[in-house]
Symmetry: C2
Subunit: 117 residues, 2 copies
DNA sequence: TGTTCATATGCACAGCTATACATATGAAAA
DNA sequence: TTTTCATATGTATAGCTGTGCATATGAACA
């Protein structure tokens, strides 16, 4: 049963469509990819990452540096942790956060470079 | 008047905070940066970009290749156009879209590479 | 001019997200 | 043990976003 027979658009270059379809990445990979990009798509998270780019910081220092609510920072740090973009170590009552790896640094650098155009 | 005197957290390493603050990117740049990343943070837009990665396509071909509503595709293409991630040429009734430049390709490649880890 | 058809867009809405308040947790110090 | 304090998290909510329907636009053609 061809859905196309009922209500589909007819201008389609079927060869082109088939070719592109065969080359497209798997749906699941694209969803993961989108989720990753989405994490960078928020100013607060970006500020956190950018602050940690320079040095390790505890939550309250981040809160002060970004002039943001402690709860807000904590919530966003949880998301960043969930995506393995930051790592942390506990020392007494404090928790010190830092960037997970060089990969994260590179993405920030690339983005900044692009935004400056 | 120091807001800090009223309700602020006291654990702050003032030197660290000042140092980071001085190195932080401008607020406006960070917002633009976040907006750019956000565009890549949606599966449909990513699919469109990924499809165009391989070849120029008209709207209805994109619609067929992604198995998505024509309206949805058009709406997302508008956003992509707004961020100069795609370019287009009109030919009769059709509109052919393609990736704006090599930069877009590179970001997709980098993202895919990272998602595959 | 009128019709057809590809694309664009106004609008409504469901689902999501970032934020902040209140509170819990858990470590250190009293 | 009790208090203090940094951090985490449950919850509520305002604002945003992606989608699809209905319709507008505008080009080709009859």
């Amino acid at each position: 049963m061809k859905i196309d027979d009922i209500c589909e658009i007819v201008c389609t270059d079927e060869k082109a469509v088939a070719e592109v379809k065969s080359k497209m990445l798997d749906e699941n990979i694209l969803i993961i990819l989108a989720e990753n990009f989405k994490i960078f798509g928020d100013p607060t998270r970006l500020k956190i990452l950018q602050a940690l780019y320079h040095r390790e910081l505890c939550v309250c220092d981040l809160s002060a540096a970004l002039d943001a609510n402690q709860s807000t920072i904590s919530h966003q740090l949880r998301l960043l942790r969930g995506k393995n973009l930051v790592k942390f170590r506990k020392q007494g009552k404090m928790t010190y956060y830092s960037l997970a790896d060089e990969h994260v640094k590179k993405i920030i650098e690339l983005g900044v470079e692009h935004a400056r155009e």
